[in-house]
């Protein structure tokens, strides 16, 4: 029997329950366990590994929906979207989108938004390190060069705009915060904009004012200093100062963005 056929059959059984009997044809029945039950041990084991991983990625969602609902939904997600890469940390990005289609959550889409926040935290943690710019060099630039300056947020930065208070909900489920909000006192209709980024070995998560949100989005979209001055006018010095103090801006470039159309094009 070719090894390829055996492996295709067994892995299919791990992610498709109706393939268990087919895979069992390759397996000996031993003792009190049938061959199908023995394949089932591997299905349970593979699902168990991935369920543990998803629970570690989405601990607040787990608390919000409960162990049983989370487990059922995660098992279904694993069957429909099995891992395709050997890097486990890449798996689970689609879980929030999967939750958003769940009929039971249609009136509680704030849970989906919390899931997006939890994935953003994971993604920020795993982003590669970067070298910060030396901002004292800004003083050496000509006026023309300064107008073409572009700034960058930390590579790990995740800007989230939610219809619900995702930061407050997340905070309410953190044991280590003594002044955390009480979940039942949170207005679930309150929209929040959130920034998540990593600084060395520390993850930061903060809500943003509408002005800070708009400014950081413009920066992330590679607006030049001239663009920023035009868009934010008198507010710019203040917005820029806050962003620098909070380490929201990490580096700058003076190279023109070639992806952006020029005035003559």
């Amino acid at each position: 029997m070719p090894l390829l056929e055996l492996q295709h059959s067994l892995i299919a059984a791990l992610f498709q329950r109706d393939q268990l009997a087919e895979a069992a044809k390759f397996v000996k029945a031993q003792g009190s366990l049938s061959s199908e039950q023995r394949v089932g041990i591997y299905r349970n084991s593979a699902h168990g590994i991935l369920l543990d991983y998803l629970e570690s990625l989405y601990p607040v969602c787990l608390e919000l929906v409960g162990t049983e609902f989370f487990g059922r939904t995660a098992h279904s997600f694993i069957d429909q979207m099995p891992p395709t890469r050997p890097f486990l940390a890449d798996y689970g990005a689609d879980f929030a989108a999967y939750l958003s289609a769940h009929p039971a959550l249609q009136e509680m889409l704030w849970i989906v938004e919390v899931a997006k926040l939890e994935w953003a935290r994971h993604a920020a943690w795993h982003t590669v390190n970067q070298v910060a710019s030396d901002f004292t060099q800004l003083e050496t630039l000509s006026a023309e060069q300064q107008a073409e300056l572009r700034f960058q947020l930390p590579a790990s930065a995740q800007l989230l705009s939610a219809h619900s208070p995702i930061h407050s909900i997340w905070l309410a489920h953190q044991d280590e915060y003594p002044d955390k909000p009480q979940f039942d006192e949170i207005d679930l209709e309150e929209a929040q904009q959130v920034l998540i980024f990593r600084e060395q070995r520390r993850l930061h998560q903060t809500t943003l004012s509408p002005d800070d949100w708009a400014f950081l989005n413009a920066v992330q979209n590679q607006a030049t200093m001239a663009d920023l001055a035009e868009q934010f006018a008198d507010q710019l010095p203040w917005l820029f100062s806050v962003a620098m103090q909070e380490n929201w801006i990490y580096s700058f470039t003076t190279t023109p963005d070639e992806t952006k159309p020029t005035r003559n094009s």
Partner: protein, 274 residues
């Protein structure tokens, strides 16, 4: 610079303990780094692994090579693993005699192979290729298993020994896995130990299993069981006081408790030759 030697009884590095280990630098003979958790180049995870390796002798232990698979190797996986190894300079790299991926899917679980001459040829070629890619001799671990294939006609120890000899690799004998598989497939674990070529064995693993009634499950979630300690003593007598590592992946205890379990293995080393 030559990596520090791996001697005595170490523990698997778990993320819950890293800050404590780096802050307190407790006396730990060596640490096994789960390579799959540290494979993003230039990430904070990798920074941790590199810093730990500055203070402790380390090995890299993985689950993702999929040495027994029929799909081509994942190039990116090997590139990242090689890059990690270049930075932490492990004494050796180990992975399992199993497969994890097929048909474009990755199980992230250790799936057994059929024990046949044809499979030996296939796996030997794959291990040689992996060794070439990593530019070092690999250390291969036996897995615990819950099924046997219809087409298998060799014993697991015959299969493992033949693979090690023909691929010219070393072996990481997981004593708990031998015990779990012996229970699940009703064979004599002592016969297993007695059949493995002594000069091939480089390291032991110890871990806890869970009794599910119909079978034993290799959960790495509790202390090493008494029967496994007994089998470990026999292994020490046959293979010598080789480096041993306590694996604990679920219900992870405090660092102190984990080190106490490693100390039991150290005592077994001492008593085996007293």
């Amino acid at each position: 610079m030559t990596p520090n030697p791996i001697l005595g009884c170490g523990i698997g590095l778990r993320f819950q303990h890293i800050d404590q280990i780096l802050a307190d630098k407790p006396p730990i003979p060596w640490l096994e780094i789960l390579s799959d958790n540290y494979l993003t180049p230039g990430s904070v995870q990798q920074d941790y692994a590199i810093e730990v390796a500055e203070y402790y002798p380390v090995t890299l232990h993985g689950v993702g090579m999929s040495l027994g698979a029929t799909e081509p190797f994942n190039d990116e996986y090997f590139q990242r693993l090689k890059s990690l190894a270049d930075q932490v300079r492990p004494a050796w790299i180990s992975d399992h005699l199993c497969w994890t991926a097929a048909h474009g899917w990755v199980s992230h679980d250790l799936l057994p192979l059929p024990y046949t001459e044809e499979t030996i040829k296939h796996v030997v070629q794959r291990i040689r290729e992996a060794q070439d890619r990593l530019e070092r001799r690999l250390v291969i671990e036996n897995v615990s298993s819950y099924l046997q294939y219809q087409e298998s006609y060799l014993s697991e120890w015959e299969f493992l020994s033949a693979v090690a000899e023909e691929a010219d690799c070393k072996l990481l004998l997981d004593v708990n896995n031998i015990y779990v598989s012996a229970f699940n497939h009703d064979f004599d674990p002592c016969k297993y130990l007695d059949s493995i070529p002594i000069e091939r064995v480089q390291q032991f693993h110890l871990a806890g299993y869970e009794d599910k009634g119909t079978h034993l499950l290799d959960t790495h979630g509790q202390p090493v069981s008494d029967p496994v300690w007994g089998l470990y003593k026999l292994a020490l007598q046959r293979f010598g006081a080789l480096p041993t590592l306590i694996e604990w992946d679920n219900n992870i205890p405090s660092l102190e408790e984990l080190l106490a379990e490693a100390h039991k293995a150290t005592e077994a080393h001492i008593h085996a030759f007293a």
